[in-house]
Structure formats: structure tokens, C-alpha cells
Point group: C2
Chain length 198, copies 2
Amino acid sequence: MRIGLKLKGLDYDYVGVDILGGEQHKPAYRAVNRQRLTPALDLGDGDVMTQSLAILEWLDETHPEPALLPGDARTRARIRAMAMVIACDVHPLNNARVGRALEAMDVSPVRRAKWTERWIIDGFQTLEPMIADHGRGFAFGDTPTLADCCLIPQIYSAGRLGVSLDPFPAIQAVAVHAAAHPAFIAAHPDLQPDAIHA
Amino acid sequence: MRIGLKLKGLDYDYVGVDILGGEQHKPAYRAVNRQRLTPALDLGDGDVMTQSLAILEWLDETHPEPALLPGDARTRARIRAMAMVIACDVHPLNNARVGRALEAMDVSPVRRAKWTERWIIDGFQTLEPMIADHGRGFAFGDTPTLADCCLIPQIYSAGRLGVSLDPFPAIQAVAVHAAAHPAFIAAHPDLQPDAIHA
């Protein structure tokens, strides 16, 4: 969502929520987002939007340039499908609440790490040929789209978890390209006010 | 996806894939969808679309009436967010491949059942107040939207698993309403060619 806002050149106040510390369950955040998941976008007029992809679609409808979903209906479907490989089939399986649920079922830390890695690799295996077919710098074509808004944060996460990108040269090329783009630089987790620096 | 096709009045050939029997891993289906997840929509001209929500968005762009995403940008964002509570935060955690992954980590059948139930209840708890606020027969307003295309199959699934809808009167009302709508009747799993009848 941060990447989308930066791509559109929109200003916003960033409020970090300490997920590992359980801050999303406290009344202050529940008042913003009943589902207690991040992110949420407070529009400042009493309306709060939830669900990353729904927020990104709204951004693209209300601020059409530069387009996160360029092209005809089939192209848009293909870009959305790439985004959803990450947003539906990788991210929800690896977020903090799922990790805690596995822990509560006595799944060992080694198995939990394998679980996380498995879904990332599975998603990247799906995306790799799609990007090889359609990417020209970014995941689809030569400008950032909804697909990159989902893929790039997942690449950061893979890096933190030590998942190798060696089997995924097309994804690696997108990572290199995004690392030089101002919106992706500005939205990088390490640059946020609540970043934890080792 | 079936509901969306029926709502748009579109004809299609249904090809069942036996997920529990592992048919999605066989070459015939892998040739259609590299990710080996269902559904996929074969357009018959060499192009195959994947990811339910991407297919539904494409349907709505190419066949605008009746609209699955009616209204202004904020309304559309709210409908998409409701759809994604199911499509991102419930369904991916409960599909067959996740069940097998839990089994492979020696998670007991009782705990696997609780896991499935937990994510459904969590999602329904999020949706219930959203539907209470915005639903008038269907999940958002008085016509079926993208939200119902995701919610109704999840309600069927909750029924099969014995998850009670008692705590969710707004969701129950939508279920009753959809049960009388021709598109939802025609798309019901029990009416598909590969339905298993007890």
C-alpha cells in the first residue's frame, strides 16, 4: 500500500502498528480496523479503508496516473492475477497471526520456518514464468503495476527469511529494477519511522 | 467464479478437477494452470485466466451488466474489501493444499478442524458488522456483488463443516436471500456435474 501511495505521489501520515507486540489487538487499532489486520487507510473524514488490494484498486480509480492497472481488460486481469498470487496465496499464509496459530498447535520453530519458506517458493514458482513472459523491468511491462506493489514487499520478506532468489532470475531482475526506483526506495520498510535496525 | 458467470448470464463448459484426488497436479491440469490451483477460465483462444477475483474483475469489465462492483470508488473499495476478507483471509488458509501441509506437520485431525473453523469464524466476525451496515438483502445493497460471489461459497463450506451461523444474523440473511436467486441456485456445488451426493 505504501508503494502504491508513493507511486501516485500522494502524501500520508504513517502510523506504525507493532504486530509482533500485539498492538493490532488493542482498542486504539481495533477502533480503526475491526479485523485487526494491517494495513488500513484512514481517509480523515470518518471513513477507513481496509484490505491492501482494495485500497490499491481505489487509489488507481481515484488517481489514474501513473496507472497501476494499465492496458486492456485481459492485461489488467493478468496483472491482477500476478498480484493475487502474492496477496491471496502467499501473504495470508505467512502473516503473524498464522505463525502464532501454528505455534499454538505445537508446530516446531523449524517446521514453521519451512512452512513460511514453502509458500513463498510456491508463489515465486508460479510468478517466475509469468514475469519471464510479460515483464520488461517490472513484473508486467516496463512500469510498476499492482503486481510489483505486492511482489516487492514479498521479496524483502524472502530476503529477511533467507529464501534464495537464485531459482528465480526474472523475479531477481524485477528486484534489481525496483531497488533503483524512487517510489520503491521511499516505501522501503527500513525507511519507515518504526523500522528496527539491527 | 461460477456465480459471477451465472450472474452475467454467460455460458461456459464446466470441467471438474478432483482436488482431493490430486488431479490438479497431473499434467493435463498443469498445462492449463501452472499454479495447480482452481479455478481457471480457459477463454478458448489459447489464453487462460487464473485467480478467482482477477477473473471476476475481468468479467465485470467486459460484461458490465449487472455490475458486480456498482457505485462510486469508495463503494467499490468497500465491496472489494468485503470480498477480500473471504478471498485473502479465509479461503487461502482453508484450502486442500494447506490441509495437507498441516497433516504433513503431524497436526491432528481435531486441530485441523479447529484451524479451518477458526479462520471462517474470524472472517465472518469481520464481515458481520460490514454487512449489517451496508447489506440490504445481499452483502452490499440489494443486488449481488463481488462480495456475495466470495461469501456465498464460504457459507456453503461453513455448512459442510458444521460451523454455526447463529452468531451472524446479517450473514444468515444474505444466505437466505441468495438461496432464492437463480444465479446462486444454478451455481450451487450440488448442481455441478461432478457433485458427490451422500
